[in-house]
Amino acid sequence: MTEAIELRGLRRDYGERPALGGVDVSLRQGESLLVLGPNGAGKTTLLRILATLLRPSSGEVRVLGAQLPAEAWKVRGRIGLLGHEPLLYRDLSGRENLRFQARLHGLRGEAAEARISDLLAAVEMERRADDRVTELSAGMRQRLAVCRCVLHEPELLLLDEPDSNLDASGRALVGELIGSRSDRTRVLVSHDPERYRGDADRTLELGPGGRVAVA
C-alpha cells in the first residue's frame, strides 16, 4: 500500500500564534486517521492544509503523491472536504447545488444525474431536493453537504465533525456514504472520540499552542 498522506514537521502559524507545531504523521491508502483535540487546537487548520486551501508555514506535506502546496493542482478533484460550512449556495436547491458541483468536477449528463439521484436517495433527501437550501434545516443541509463531499468519488475524505446537526437516522445514513473503504483514505475530526475510535487506524491528538501526540 502506498502512502496517502505524509506530513513531516508541518507547522502553521497565524501571525505570532502557532496553530500547528510540527506535525509528523503518515497514513496509507485506505486507512483512517482520527484527529482529536480541544477547540482551537488546529484540527480545522490541518484539514484545510490537506485540502490545499491553506499553505503550511513550514514542513513537508505530501498528499496522494503530490507535494503541497506546489503540486496542489494534481490532487484537486481527488479530495472531498466536509467542513463546518456546507459549501452550498443558499438560493439554489440541493439538486442544483449538486449539479453545479458535478459540472465543476467534470461530471455531466445522465451519469451525473444518476449519481446525484443515488446520493439524494441514500440520505433520504429526494422529496426536499428541489427546495432552496435556505429553506432546509441544518441537519438536511449537512446531509446535502455529505452528498457534495462524496459526489466525485474522492480518494481522500477530509471530514470535520461529519455528524454535526444530524439526528440518529441522519448519522446512520451519512455513515454509509463516508464509511471506511479500502480505496479511500479518511481523516476524521471529531469531539466524540468514542464514536470513531474503533473505525480509525491511527489517532492524532492536537493540543493548544500546536502541541501534537500521535498514537
Binding site: T52, L53, G83, Y89, E96, L104, R132
Partner: protein, 226 residues
C-alpha cells in the same frame, strides 16, 4: 482537469440563476440609475442635455449603479463557501474570473436596456444616438466588468468591502471614464450624433478592456490563494 469552458458555463449559469431567483442586484442598480436621472433632471433644472454634460451624467450614473452590482459579485462565494468549493474543484481558476466578469456584463447590459431609454426620455430630443451609443457602452461594460471583478474579489474578504470597492475601483476606471465620455460626447451633441474622434475613443476603450482582461486572467489565481 475539467475544461475551462465547462467550468465557465457552470459558474455563469449558477450566478444568473441565483440572480434571477433573488433579484438582489439588478433592481437596485436600475432603481438607483433612474432615481439619479430624476435628481439630475430637477437638480440641473434642464429637460435637455447634450455634449459633454449629457455624456458625463449618463456615464457617472451608470458607473455608480455598476458599483452596487460589483459590491455583491462575490458575496455568495464568500458567505456560502463558494470560494472553497471552487478551489477544491479541478478547474482553472481563471474560469471563475471570466464567469464573474461575464455575469457582470450581463447585469450591466440588462440595466442599460432599462435605464438608457429612460435617460433618452428625460434628456434627449431624439433616439438617433442610441444605436452607436450601445457600442460604446458595451465596450465600457467589458472594461468595467474586468476591473470590477478583480477589485470585488479582493474587497469581498474585507468587512469594509462596501467602502473599499469604490475607493479602489474609481481611480482605476479613470482612463475608462475619459474614453467612454469622450466617445459618448459627439454622439450626444446638439443636432444629432457626430463622429468626431469617435474611432480613437473606441480604440482606447478596446485597449483598456484588453489590458484589464489580461491582467485579470494573469493574477486571479494568486488572488484566490490564502
Amino acid at each position: 482537469m475539467t475544461p475551462s469552458r465547462a467550468a465557465f458555463a457552470a459558474i455563469l449559469a449558477k450566478d444568473l440563476r441565483a440572480e434571477l431567483r433573488t433579484l438582489q442586484s439588478l433592481p437596485a442598480m436600475a432603481l438607483f440609475a433612474v432615481t439619479t436621472f430624476v435628481i439630475f433632471r430637477f437638480g440641473l433644472d434642464r429637460t435637455q442635455l447634450s455634449g459633454s454634460l449629457a455624456a458625463g451624467v449618463l456615464w457617472a450614473t451608470l458607473l455608480f449603479a455598476a458599483i452596487l452590482g460589483i459590491n455583491r459579485l462575490f458575496v455568495a462565494e464568500r458567505e456560502e463557501g463558494g470560494f472553497d468549493a471552487i478551489r477544491l474543484a479541478p478547474i482553472d481558476r481563471s474560469a471563475l474570473f471570466a464567469a464573474k466578469a461575464a455575469a457582470l456584463v450581463v447585469y450591466l447590459v440588462a440595466v442599460e436596456l432599462v435605464v438608457v431609454p429612460v435617460f433618452a426620455l428625460f434628456f434627449l430630443d431624439s433616439a438617433g444616438a442610441l444605436p452607436p451609443l450601445a457600442l460604446v457602452l458595451l465596450l465600457a461594460d467589458l472594461g468595467l466588468a474586468a476591473t470590477g471583478t478583480l477589485i470585488s474579489s479582493m474587497a469581498v474578504n474585507s468587512r469594509a468591502r462596501d467602502l473599499l470597492t469604490p475607493l479602489v475601483l474609481l481611480p482605476l476606471v479613470v482612463p475608462l471614464s475619459i474614453a467612454a465620455t469622450g466617445a459618448l460626447e459627439p454622439l450626444l451633441a446638439v443636432g444629432g450624433p457626430g463622429y468626431n474622434r469617435f474611432g480613437t475613443w473606441l480604440a482606447v476603450l478596446g485597449l483598456y478592456d484588453l489590458i484589464f482582461l489580461l491582467v485579470g486572467y494573469a493574477v486571479f489565481d494568486f488572488l484566490l490563494e490564502d
